[in-house]
């Protein structure tokens, strides 16, 4: 973008938002990537709207200047979703963080998208309610970001992913039109556009209000930590727990390297360092049912040869046990300058197989890889710590990551369970979907986002891109020209 065009854009944005436009290089530094640090690109400007109307006005301005734009919540995304791929304007929701309405009897709340996940639960906790999806990043990530990624979390095993908890949305569409989708009324007529929007990674528009489902806090919660001499015993316990009809709220496994990293960090939770794996089990519900489930879990863990089984006696202890799990990425991040967090999923019965493969890949590529995962739903998080300044090591890390994802697909699984595709896995999409499948998704996107200005280059490989394009995509020049609306309309350019 030429300096004069940039200046005109800035002036127009300033006219809308005054000082709530940042574009000095030092201000932009923190916005050059999300929590996937591998791919970096500085935006043209960051805007801080406070209302739906302001978001729509920013979008209109961007369209007028033919500049791409993209929403950003807290930037904790792990697939580069909030990182601009071109010279673009970020629409940061940090100043849209109010709880607008709470209706306990009808079990919903209306919130702004920049509200931090944990603050939603805190807003209703006093009345005995909570918001169920609990990504490990919940102290920082936003409801808007959760909607965009269809975020999960340890307790989504029982309580469901974000999609299950979103009833309605106000969306600023990529052409600046404001629409309401769904809402607190049962079964809105027409197609389930809310269901489509959730998980669309900011490519179909910007959510500016969210109607979320809230739930009663469980009457009783019990939390266990079992440690094992082998990963396969831990996995077998998971299989047994499900097979015997226990409906656990969470089933999380951490491997030895993760345990070591956690125990050497500020997230130390007292996990036994000598164990090859620990299994964190939580059961919740009515007291009587939790009692039965707890008994079953205890029996199974012992049968499967647990070295030790610890139960949290009080809330303080429960928090401690969870601290290690929720801090696992952070702890791994301290091992080296960069961390690649992967997110493949396999059918649960293939867990042991895939873990063997993951460890084999670790040896093959000589990378520092640890595993912490949502065992109950087969969602792996192999974490690879590396030094991003070392190109050779970086290449090995990427190759290892790609091989693991291919193995997940070979096992009948998918590329991502909760972190989304973003730019990170975009060019792996053809491993799972054929051209016709991807072309349909592209056409659906283009109906919503006809100019292609809203968070371009995410989720779907460009029509011609094939898997080999990966290297190129990641070094995309931030000056890559964006086709004009008329070019697209004339069919002369691909959005």
């Amino acid at each position: 973008m030429s300096p004069s065009a940039h200046a005109r854009l800035r002036d127009d944005l300033r006219a809308l938002l005054g000082a709530r436009v940042h574009d000095r290089p030092e201000e932009l530094l923190v916005y050059e990537c999300d929590a996937m640090t591998y791919f970096k690109n500085r935006p043209l400007a960051v805007t801080f709207p406070e209302s739906t109307a302001e978001v729509a006005a920013i979008v209109r301005t961007c369209i007028r200047h033919r500049v791409p734009f993209l929403p950003r919540g807290a930037g904790t995304g792990l697939s580069g979703g909030a990182t601009p791929t071109r010279a673009a304007v970020l629409i940061e929701t940090a100043r849209m963080r109010q709880v607008l309405h709470i209706d306990l009897d009808n079990r919903f709340a209306v919130v702004q998208p920049g509200l931090v996940n944990i603050l939603l639960t805190q807003a209703v906790a006093g009345s005995g309610f909570y918001y169920a999806p609990d990504p490990s990043s919940q102290m920082a990530c936003t409801i808007g970001g959760n909607v965009a990624e269809n975020a999960g979390g340890p307790h989504c095993l029982k309580h469901g992913m974000t999609a299950k908890h979103i009833l309605g949305l106000t969306v600023v569409l990529p052409d600046a039109e404001v629409v309401e989708l769904g809402g607190a009324m049962a079964d809105p007529p027409g197609y389930d556009l809310v269901g489509l929007f959730v998980g669309s990674e900011g490519t179909l528009g910007i959510a500016t209000e969210v109607v979320v489902r809230i739930e009663k806090q469980p009457q009783s919660v019990r939390t266990f930590l079992a440690s094992y001499a082998s990963m396969s015993d831990a996995c077998a316990s998971v299989t047994d727990i499900i097979a015997r009809g226990v409906d656990p709220a969470a089933l999380e496994i951490l491997d030895r390297l993760t345990i070591e990293a956690v125990e050497s960090s500020v997230y130390a939770a007292g996990y036994p360092r000598e164990a090859e794996a620990v299994l964190l089990v939580e059961v919740d519900g009515l007291e009587a049912e939790v009692e039965l489930a707890a008994r079953e879990v205890t029996t199974i863990c012992h049968e499967r040869g647990a070295l030790a089984l610890e139960e949290a006696r009080e809330e303080e202890e429960r928090r401690r046990l969870w601290k290690g799990r929720k801090g696992a990425f952070g702890a791994m991040g301290r091992i080296n300058t960069d961390l690649l967090v992967m997110d493949g999923v396999v059918p649960r019965h293939r867990l042991e197989w895939i873990l063997e493969q993951v460890y084999r890949v670790r040896e093959k590529y000589g990378v520092t890889l640890s595993n912490v995962f949502h065992a109950g739903d087969g969602n792996l998080h192999p974490n690879i710590s590396y030094d991003g300044r070392d190109p050779e090591e970086t290449q090995r890390v990427l190759a290892a990551g790609e091989e693991i994802l291919r193995l997940c697909i070979e096992a009948g699984g998918v590329l991502s369970g909760e972190h989304g595709i973003g730019v990170e896995k975009r060019d792996f999409m053809p491993y799972l979907f054929d051209d016709v499948d991807l072309d349909l998704m592209r056409r659906v996107r283009d109906v919503w986002n006809p100019l292609g200005l809203c968070n371009p280059d995410k989720v779907l490989p460009t029509a011609k891109a094939c898997v080999e394009a990966r290297g190129r995509m990641l070094t995309l020049d931030s000056e890559t020209p964006v086709p004009s609306a008329t070019d697209v309309a004339k069919g002369e350019a691909q959005p």
Partner: protein, 444 residues
């Protein structure tokens, strides 16, 4: 005008093609008897039929077992029916993962039988009818009376394979229980009533079948019913269903009901609890106590529950209305139905869900308008789910939210308008005239 039956038989084999002869007599007049009904065995055949239809621009009615074709917009101008009835195999079932992949024509009965062997079931649990299919239940987004606890298809469909209007086929989603890989297009297809695609394979997550089920049945005076229900709802109990029945209906004259038979205006509450034995018993007792004097009625279970499940289903001479409110707003529907339709209406309300079904033997247009008018004030939506051919009433469709986006999705998937029209068949509060399409509910 339908396509020539003989020609279609020649093209696709007479073994696959019959005339219009649906199992439900109420649907006989739905289409002319010479309308070809094609029932392919495989996806490739399915695609072939759709390529033919799209080449020759024939309007096609997607169907499963044809038990719920009355849902959605009327099949105006249908020239060909294409059914998944013969594509009825369970392709994969992994009990330890609680996941199942089945062809769309697989009946709900078949899935229940297969999953039942491992103590599992399909949580949405709609009335399985004689041979309702998985694909049809998903396309119509039909749900069961335990939606309060088990949700709908939205919560358990993991992925789908579909055939498009142009005969191409695509997949979305996957077979695993957690997945954010690409757009979740299956969400669009659920409830789309054959207006976007043909579902040909559906991947679902199954749930553990409860060890025990129990009921509390109570009579509630209208004046206290709402408060009582709210108290239950706010307490610690976790019912799988809280059903309110305003039955003055003669069909509910069985022994169990007769015992709890209520005076005009009284409501009958069915609270259902599921889970492990001890947990269910504890809740039954507590619930009965809270409703002082209510009956814990184990034997109501089998017989009456099945009758209740059938209430939203069509019957030859009945109108079935569906009212959508907020979760605990069902009293609006109950009260409006009683005041407007009087004793001839039977209303079944799913408290905590926000859905109510009103059954009527006969209905005048003015009464319908008055009903809508009443509910309009609360923002509720009214849909006519089923109307007998002879008692047809014209009703405006609802205001579609984001109408242009909805229409754009429709024309993306079905640019030649070969499939059914958009499923906007509700009579809605606050309908904006300019948004109302030409679709009409009545059956001609």
């Amino acid at each position: 005008m339908s396509v020539d039956l003989v020609r279609v038989q020649q093209l696709f084999g007479s073994e696959c093609v019959t005339g219009w002869d649906p199992p439900d007599p109420a649907l006989h007049g739905f289409l002319p008897a010479e309308t070809p009904v094609v029932a392919p065995h495989e996806i490739a055949e399915f695609q072939e039929v759709m390529r033919f239809a799209s080449r020759e621009k024939h309007r096609v009615l997607p169907a499963g077992s044809m038990e719920h074709l009355y849902l959605g917009a009327p099949p105006d101008g249908v020239e060909l029916v294409l059914t998944t009835r013969r594509m009825a195999r369970v392709l994969e079932y992994e009990p330890s993962d609680q996941t199942l992949v089945a062809q769309a024509g697989t009946t709900l009965h078949e899935i229940a039988a297969r999953a039942g062997e491992f103590g599992q079931h399909l949580a949405p649990d709609p009335w399985p009818g004689r041979a309702a299919t998985l694909g049809g239940a998903c396309a119509a987004n039909r749900f069961g009376l335990t939606r309060l606890r088990h949700g709908t298809w939205r919560d358990c469909v993991l992925g789908a394979r579909v055939v498009h209007a142009d005969g191409s086929t695509t997949r979305s989603g996957g077979k695993v229980v957690k997945n954010v890989t690409g757009y979740d297009l299956a969400k669009l297809y659920l409830g789309s009533l054959g207006s976007l695609v043909f579902l040909v394979e559906v991947n679902v997550r199954l749930a553990q079948r409860p060890q025990e089920v129990g009921y509390v049945v109570a009579r509630l005076a209208p004046a206290v019913a709402q408060q009582r229900l709210l108290e239950l709802h706010r307490g610690w109990l976790q019912p799988a269903a809280l059903l309110l029945l305003s039955a003055s209906a003669p069909e509910f004259d069985s022994a169990a009901f007769a015992q709890a038979r209520h005076d005009a205006g009284e409501l009958l509450l069915f609270a259902r609890f599921e889970g492990q034995r001890a947990v269910v018993r504890e809740q039954l007792e507590e619930c009965a106590q809270q409703l002082d004097g209510a009956e814990v009625a184990p034997d109501v279970a089998a017989s009456e529950w099945e009758r209740l499940r059938r209430l939203p289903e069509p019957e030859p001479h009945l109108h079935v209305l569906r009212v959508s409110t907020r979760a605990v707003g069902v009293f609006d529907a109950l009260v409006a139905a009683r005041e407007v339709f009087g004793a001839q209406a039977t209303t079944l309300a799913l408290f905590g869900v926000g859905t109510s079904f009103v059954r009527l033997a006969a209905v005048e247009s003015e009464a319908l308008a008055a009903f809508r008018e009443r509910l309009q004030r609360t923002g509720a939506q009214v849909t006519l789910q089923y109307a007998p051919a002879d008692g047809a009433r014209r009703l405006d469709p609802p205001p579609a939210q984001a109408a242009s986006l909805q229409a754009a999705m429709k024309s993306l998937f079905d640019p030649g308008a070969l499939l059914r029209p958009m499923p906007s068949v509700a009579i809605g509060a606050g309908a904006r005239a300019e948004e109302a399409t030409e679709e009409r509910i009545h059956r001609e």
